[in-house]
Symmetry: C2
Subunit: 291 residues, 2 copies
């Protein structure tokens, strides 16, 4: 079991804390004053989630964008963010990227904290949004016979990562500056039976969606749009950081936004996931398990 | 100028970002669905805010309690928290303290993130609350002639810190497990002209309240209740971590909770703060400037 799994099990064992799963799963939904608020918090750590010598402007962008992607998967419109920032060299670049990404998505910086510390430095970001559709969709509603869909293509972030790592000079923006699918999430929220963002790899996240829905998902790997050479298809399906939306719709429905049908929901089987008819019994090696 | 000040100035310079001050000041207030939400985020860093070998259960307690104290200073009742947790040894102790403090104040863990990383480890916590009184009080409303008040006594956390540092075995609970004044904050919110929690030292926080209110505060140091020997009075007034509430009331009013009048608000002078008639021109050395 992972350290994360152990930590969450500790929380559960001590008090059966009802929200302990919240640490690993969906963004939180909080009902306040007739609105459903959506809350998410992610941390980035130097050397774990961030490459050495990465431009702090890109770190700030990704920190915000990944949290906004969690809001997108709930069909929420962002209301603001709170930042936990560990001060360091190049703080002007971090501030620059922060202002860029907040401006791009029209999100105010509500508050936060600045601390000294590190190396390694770490950052935390909380995003808060307002759900545009009730009930708020989750990853757990996929039903028998539903179609499985994905927005965009996967694999672009993988190529971007490799460009940065190898210093090849190729376009790395998909990796460095992901673009959360906020508008698509709002459009999809009233239609989907289940939805999540693809942060850790399409196959791993499909596995998780199936588990959360107590269903079995069958993926046709050839149907998945990839933004990489064909011989990298399998890598692209397992690489994370693309921040597309993975969702299920009743069999007779299609989304009103560009998306591709990549599989269907089958009766619950002995495994959560089939890929090209092959059963996948556990998530090991299926995607990128963030530290 | 501090690194924090530079970072915030960077945010301002780049885009005159309206909420850049939020990083250093009051908890954020967000109007949603007819309610005023109060949001706060604090980080703790090993070696900066946390003593070596400190029980992780106490770290978890303090992380939650200090954020709840920010809610208390807004008269807000907590709705939940999100945790950014860096995994490490003794995670069972951290989980234990987390469940203790959340249970004590009846606050759910809504979600968050777990990451690997460190040393030094760091933690972030976001607390969200619902304001019980509108307008939501802030530190900026102190008016001429108001009385200046404080709940409880200051200096207990200082003695607790020294007990831990020196291994004396004396009671260190005031330092390790501060108790946010949530009930008092709710009672005070409709009455106060300004309010904040005393996290960084009574004199420093009084200086900040005066600056935020564009006023001058005069403190009578002998009137301040201290939980330390009389010869440590000056230390107690400058030590932080007590998490009492500092507030101002119109001159003819007294609070309905136990509190002590320690000064008054004077016409704005050439300095924000007088202590026993002595002008204090800047905050240097006045309290504990958290890293």
């Amino acid at each position: 079991m992972s350290n994360e799994g152990r930590f969450i099990d500790n929380l559960r064992a001590i008090a059966l804390h009802p929200a302990a799963r919240g640490l690993a799963d969906d963004a939180a939904v909080l009902e306040v004053g007739g609105e459903a608020l959506v809350l998410t918090h992610d941390m980035l750590v130097e050397g774990v989630h961030v490459l050495p010598d990465q431009d702090p402007a890109d770190i700030a962008w990704k920190l915000v964008a990944t949290n906004l992607s969690d809001l997108a998967a709930k069909g929420a419109e962002p209301l603001g963010v709170l930042l936990g920032h560990m001060l360091g060299r190049d703080d002007d670049r971090f501030a620059h990227g922060l202002v860029e990404v907040l401006g791009r998505y029209g999100v105010p910086l509500l508050g936060g904290d600045t601390v000294s510390g590190g190396p390694p430095r770490s950052w935390g970001l909380t995003a808060i949004g307002r759900a545009t559709h009730r009930p708020v969709p989750s990853r757990s509603g996929a039903g028998l016979g539903d179609g499985v869909w994905v927005t965009g293509a996967v694999g672009a972030a993988m190529l971007g990562f490799e460009a940065v790592r190898d210093g090849s000079g190729s376009d790395a923006s998909a990796y460095l500056r992901p673009q959360p699918r906020l508008a698509e999430g709002v459009q999809l929220a009233p239609l989907v039976t289940a939805i999540m963002d693809v942060s850790d790899g399409l196959l791993l996240d499909a596995f998780r969606l199936a588990e959360a829905s107590s269903a079995t998902v069958a993926i046709d790997s050839a149907a998945v749009p990839i933004a990489a050479p064909e011989q990298r298809r399998w890598d692209a399906l397992r690489w994370g950081d693309d921040y597309e939306l993975l969702f299920t719709l009743p069999a007779d429905q299609a989304p009103q936004i560009p998306a591709t049908r990549i599989g269907m929901v089958e009766p619950q089987s002995f495994v959560p996931l089939f890929v090209d008819g092959q059963p996948i019994a556990n998530a090991q090696g299926l995607g990128y398990q963030h530290g």
